[in-house]
Amino acid sequence: MTVSNPDGATSILATDCGSTTTKAILIELKGDEYRLIVRGEAPTTVEAPFEDVTKGVLNAVREVEELAGRKILAGETIMTPSKNGEGVDLYVSTSSAGGGLQMMVFGVVKTMTAESAQRAALGAGAIVMDVIASNDGRLPYQKIKRIRQLRPDMILLSGGIDGGTTTHVAELAELLSAADPKARLGAGYLLPVVYAGNKDASGIVKATLGDKTALVITDNLRPVLERENLGPARTQIHDLFMEHVMAHAPGYKKLMEWTLVPIMPTPAAVGRIIETIAREKGIQPIGVDIGGATTDVFSVFQGVFNRTVSANLGMSYSISNVLAETGIDNIMRWVPFHVEEKDLRNRIKNKMIRPTTIPQSLEELMIEQGIAREALRLAFEQHKSLAVGLKGVQQERTISDTFDQTSSGETLVNLRDLDMLVGSGGVLSHAPRRVQAALMLIDAFLPECVTHLAVDSIFMMPQLGVLSTVHPKAATEVFNKDCLIHLGTCIAPVGTGKEGSECVRVKLEREQGSSEEVAVNFGQMKVMALAVGEKARVLTNPTKGFDAGAGHGRTFEAKIEGGVVGVIIDCRGRRPFVLPVSAEQRVKKLNEWNTALNVYPAVS
């Protein structure tokens, strides 16, 4: 499909093929601005009996046709360009339908090159199934067994600084060759291997793996100890993913022929939007996209963009893994009513095996939102641990000297400096009340001091991300006007205290003239009204045990923006944030906060 002038487009169709659902949005030029018209969705169809992702796309587009009253399809073809109000001028798409790229990474030193390799792979949106390092404690045959068992889509091999020793890298290549890994996508498919290690070892790696794998050699991802160079490896992984892995998913070849620009992996598209927000607003944001199979977290701190895909944390296919990783108690702590562990476990497993179902009762909704909190929290923990400064930068060392290095790098993520937290994904975007999304974000990320909160209105950031590559104006306009729902601002002083004791006094001076002051005690949450588009000056005056951003006991002043929820004052504590241990007390507090923020309707 080609369009001679994308800028002249008056109608745009964009889809996102998720692991659970396929979403389609229709954008039209109204006057001189682009606006979202409607959204449709349908179950993703990569599995039997369909095994063709385009079926789900067509079903989602049919819903768009129905809701918009506009004919877009001629049979099973998207009509382009538009003519007489039918068809569209542009069609673009993103995808994460296969559940993501599953790969293994190899490095020489577990805490250095292996870790850099892991960051490169995660940053490319991959699921890292295992990290194999020369010094990871496993015997060679154990590593080989593991390689055979996992059947990855791709392998990233790294190790050694440029000009350094080649021995360990050669060993890893030999290990890989002996394992003779087979990909899961087909017997005749050569496994892609990206080599991004010591350039002096490239020849050895090529000789060892060149005939057995689809080998690609790129720049060393850690050319010197002090510096990472993850970009080239990330790019290769991404390109190979598109070319090799996604192309093997059922129906993708057909879908590729339909779109104007290459189909973008969903995390890459959402990452573009977050980077754009950071750049255009000059802020340090965190974005999160919680999907069915994966939860992706994005951040820009100190000018550095980081992206992690927590491959097995999600709200449908991966929901049971959230339980397995966090434990039943951590989920139950968010549920504001008594539920038996046995019952909760069954509900979670039933959602896992029937991932497209939705909560019908309020109780089911509360449980799902409790699980979402844990998925978000765990994904954020992973993100923080991987968005770090480099280990081993204190002194020059050789590879062999660093085998037992244990010091850890500092995370770049700093909640005090966090300006904006943006949420996306079904459970956040489709929360029946926006305040539910706000509270899920706050409970999971525990933002500190002053943080603006927003949510993707109907989960369209992926589509806008890929659209921005071919039509930035349309993407930006729709993003600003229709996509982002401003929830408001969270004010959360850092510190802890005695339940009911004084914590902060917050004075809000709205730009339009009115002002208001509240006192919030420790253990309480309150909301102050500040609508979308409204701005205010806020003065947060904490008692001496708390830090609102200017130091303990010192008043912190900030300019803030409102939202559909307003200004949420969270005095439940930070560092630590602790929920009551007793189930009875905890349920009581949860209900108290839910009432204060009007989170759920009363059920008769």
Binding site: S19, T21, G40, A42, P43, V46, E47, P49, N59, R62, E63, E66, A97, G98, G99, P140, Y141, I144, K145, T166, T167, A170, E174, L175, A178, D180, K182, A187, I204, P250, A293, N312, S318, S320, N321, L323, A324, D343, R345, N346, R347, I348, K349, N350, M352, I353, R354, T356, T357, I358, P359, Q360, S361, L362, E364, L365, H430, P432, R433, V603
Partner: protein, 376 residues
């Protein structure tokens, strides 16, 4: 979703199925097109390269990597016994001998003059592929395997554990809502595929496995029992390689779930017949469901009711459906209405709904996402 439907699992008395039986590596195919095969018959065979052991000869013998080749007492490609010397060096005017012994029985595969390591490989591991179902070979994939076609009854479950197995069907309950109990088990269950009603627990599974039963097919299981039986919390639903001595298929879901009447009636009609079952489940893109296959083998197909045709256009008035989430989990009915407008649920979410008339005549309004069409 206007066109939303959740394709249900298939339960049918008679259908044709093809199963691909493929080796992980190239090997030898032992059957030819047209052959009638039995489930337990080996149709293809290969050998996996044995596990690899590396021996750092250079370090052990204190020689340079490039000199290792010269220390070999057995050439590359030789067979070795465990503890057999395959390299040796002499020092100090030949007075001191350093020896390098093989830690395994296997083959000296290669030597690296860069790392100084020897790669030793254990004897090959035979890999066999069985036919899995009684049927006819319809295609041979050279050096890889065969496709076996069978005609018979086919039941898909919603979740399972354990791999492929086969055995005679034996019902342990009279009604689909009866739970399985360990007291129902005895020596006659050995080698059988045991059929239950609503629920199975850890005690039953452990006793059944110890008695040599091959598999269990039942409506539901509590997750707490699954966790206890497996010994761990199942995270991602990718199963099939659990080695618990028995395969399990649940047909409805987690909890005490009455087996669907159609499924139970079909299994009851098939009692005494040989079934091939697989607990392999993958709940991801490319979903794989556990299954029970009973080849007709010349016998007539059970009569259990009309097969319905799966409609690719989605839900329609009159479509037969089952509710797949609380409330009303497991209830059967027919679509009475498909309102086009969004309706608000108790959660305040506005979604596409349908009106269902249950088999007992009562009606309910449900999210379209919470029903599945009944196939087969």
């Amino acid at each position: 979703m206007a066109h939303a439907y959740t394709p249900g699992v298939t339960v049918t008395a008679k259908t044709k199925l093809v199963r691909e039986r493929r080796l992980p590596l190239a090997g030898t195919v032992l059957a030819k097109a047209g052959d009638q095969v039995k489930a337990e018959q080996v149709v293809a065979r290969t050998e996996l390269p044995g596990n690899v052991q590396t021996v750092n000869v250079a370090n052990i013998l204190s020689v340079l990597p490039e000199d290792v080749e010269g220390t070999l007492t057995k050439p590359v490609g030789s067979s070795l016994e465990a503890d057999e010397v395959f390299a040796m060096s002499r020092s100090f005017f030949g007075l001191f001998k350093s020896k390098c012994k093989s830690p395994i029985k296997g083959t000296l595969e290669s030597i690296s003059n860069i790392t100084g390591q020897a790669i030793l490989r254990e004897p090959p591991i035979p890999v066999e592929v069985h036919a899995y179902v009684d049927g006819k070979v319809i295609e041979v994939m050279e050096k890889e395997g065969v496709r076996v076609e069978t005609e018979g009854s086919f039941i898909q479950g919603i979740f399972g554990i354990g791999g492929e197995t086969w055995g005679e069907i034996k019902l342990l309950v009279k009604k689909s809502d009866e739970p399985l109990d360990a007291s129902m088990l005895d020596a006659s269950c050995s080698g059988k595929i045991l059929i239950g009603g609503s629920r199975v627990d850890t005690a039953f599974l452990e006793k059944a496995a110890s008695l040599g039963a091959k598999g269990v097919v039942v409506g539901g299981i509590d997750d707490k029992d699954l966790r206890q039986f497996l010994g761990y919390d199942l995270g991602v639903a990718i199963t099939g390689s659990e080695e618990k001595g028995i395969s399990l298929i649940i047909t409805e879901g987690f909890g005490g779930m009455r087996m669907a009447e159609k499924t139970f009636s079909l299994l009851r009609a098939l009692e005494g017949r040989k079934a091939s079952i697989s607990g392999v489940t993958q709940i991801r893109a490319g979903v794989m469901r556990p299954e029970v296959i009973v080849a007709m083998d010349g016998k007539p197909a059970p009569v259990t009711g009309k097969a319905s045709v799966f409609s690719e256009s989605g839900l329609e008035i009159g479509s037969a459906i089952r509710v797949i989430r609380e409330p009303n989990f497991g209830r059967l009915g027919r679509v009475a209405d498909l309102p086009p407008e969004l309706r608000e649920l108790e959660t305040e979410a506005k979604v596409r709904v349908l009106e269902v008339e249950f088999d007992d005549g009562t009606k309910a309004v449900l999210p379209r996402a919470n029903v599945e069409m009944i196939e087969g």
